[in-house]
C-alpha cells in the first residue's frame, strides 16, 4: 500500500515536519490531504475546481484573520490582559492563519507538487525519451516554460514555444495527447504555487506584527527563543509557544492563583 507519509518524508522533510506538527493538532486535515491525494491519483479530482475552492477559502480566511487582529489590537488597549491571556489570543490567531487558512493551500500545493512528479511525470519522462529521443531536462524546461506563472497570467505564446515545437515533432500522437494533458494539470499546479506565493506576500504585513508581538511577550516573560529559532517560520515557532511557553506560563499563573487563594483563606 502506498505510504503517503513515508513518501513525503523522503521527498520533502520540510513539508513532512509541517504535517507532523499539524497531524497532532488537526486530525481532519490529514484526512483531507489523503482524500485529495487519492482522488488525484485516481483521476477523480477536478483540479481546477479544487484550486478555486482552496483559493476562495484562503481569501475568506485571511479577511477573517485581519478582522481578528484588528479586534485584538483594539481591545488590548482598553483591557488589561495578562501576558498569558494575551499570548493565548495571539497563538489562537496565528494558528487560525497557519492551520485553518494557509495549510489547506500548502496541502493542495504540496500534494500536487511532490506526488504529481513521482507518480505521473516520472514514467512520462522515460517514455518521451524512449519514443521521441527527448532529453528529460529539455522536456522539463519546455514543461516549466509552458506552464510558467507569466504564461498563465499573461498568456504569452512565446513561453510555450518550446513545448509547441517539441509536440509538433512527436511521432506517437497518443503520447502527444497525454503530454498535453500533463501540461494542463501542471499549469494548475503552478497556479496553485503562484496563489500560495501571492497569498504569502499579502499575508506578510499581517503576520509580521503578530510575530513581533509574540516575540515581545516572550521577551517580557523571559522565554524568548534561542537565536537560531528567531528566524524559523511559524510552523516551528508555534510548537515552541504551544508546547513550551504556554504550559510554563499556565503553571506559573495557576500556582500563583492558588497561592493567593490559600493565602486569603
Amino acid at each position: 500500500m502506498y505510504d503517503f507519509y513515508k513518501s513525503f518524508q523522503q521527498k520533502s522533510p520540510i513539508y513532512y515536519e509541517v504535517f507532523l506538527y499539524l497531524e497532532t493538532q488537526v486530525v481532519e486535515l490529514k484526512e483531507k490531504c489523503m482524500k485529495i491525494r487519492d482522488k488525484f491519483m485516481n483521476y477523480e479530482l477536478d483540479l481546477e475546481e479544487e484550486y478555486l475552492r482552496v483559493a476562495s477559502k484562503a481569501k475568506a480566511g485571511m479577511n477573517i484573520a485581519q478582522g481578528m487582529w484588528k479586534e485584538l489590537e483594539a481591545t488590548k488597549e482598553k483591557s488589561d490582559f495578562s501576558d498569558l491571556a494575551y499570548l493565548v489570543r495571539l497563538n489562537v490567531l496565528i494558528k487560525y492563519i497557519y492551520i485553518d487558512v494557509q495549510t489547506e493551500l500548502l496541502c493542495f500545493n504540496a500534494v500536487l507538487n511532490k506526488v504529481f512528479f513521482e507518480e505521473k511525470i516520472q514514467e512520462l519522462l522515460q517514455e518521451v525519451y524512449d519514443k521521441e529521443g527527448i532529453d528529460h531536462l529539455d522536456f522539463l524546461t519546455a514543461l516549466d516554460q509552458a506552464t510558467s506563472y507569466q504564461y498563465i497570467k499573461r498568456r504569452e505564446n512565446a513561453t510555450a514555444e518550446k513545448m509547441t515545437n517539441l509536440l509538433e515533432k512527436f511521432t506517437d500522437l497518443e503520447l502527444a495527447e497525454r503530454v498535453k494533458k500533463v501540461v494542463e494539470e501542471f499549469s494548475i499546479q503552478k497556479k496553485s504555487e503562484h496563489m500560495f506565493s501571492e497569498a504569502f506576500i499579502e499575508w506578510t504585513p499581517l503576520v509580521l506584527p503578530i510575530r513581533e508581538e509574540i516575540w515581545r511577550v516572550l521577551k517580557k516573560v523571559d522565554m524568548y527563543p534561542e537565536d537560531e529559532m528567531r528566524v524559523l517560520p511559524f510552523y516551528n515557532l508555534l510548537p515552541y509557544v504551544e508546547k513550551v511557553v504556554l504550559p510554563n506560563l499556565y503553571e506559573n499563573a495557576t500556582s500563583t492563583y492558588f497561592k493567593e487563594k490559600y493565602r486569603r483563606e
Binding site: 520533502s12 520540510i14 531536462l137 524546461t141 516554460q145 503562484h194 500560495f196 506565493s197 506576500i201 528566524v231
Partner: protein, 108 residues
Amino acid sequence: MNVIKGLGASKGIAKGKALIFEEGNDRILVEGDEEKYILVAEYIPPYIAELDKRISGIIVEESSLLCHAACIAREIGIPCVTGVEECYTTLVNKEITIDGSKGEVYYV
C-alpha cells in the same frame, strides 16, 4: 578547485558569489552593485516566485527535479543543481561556478 556533485535540474553554466538564502526573509534582496550571485539554499519555499536579475544560478540541498527551485530556474532559463548536501554551510562566501547540465558545483 573543489567539486561537488548533485543533480542537474536546469541546463547551463553560471558563475557568481554565493548568496545564502535565509528562511524568514520576505524577499531575496541583493543590494549594491551589478555583481552576479548564485543562490544557495536548503530549499526555496513556494512563496518565492521571482528572483532578482543578478541571480544567475541556484543550488539547493533538496533533491528533486520538480522542486520549486528547479521549476523557477527552468522557467527563467538559469542553471540549477539540486541534491547538494549542506550547500548552505559549505559554500558560504565562496566564488562558485555551476554546471546545471552535469550537476556539478565548483568552488575555490
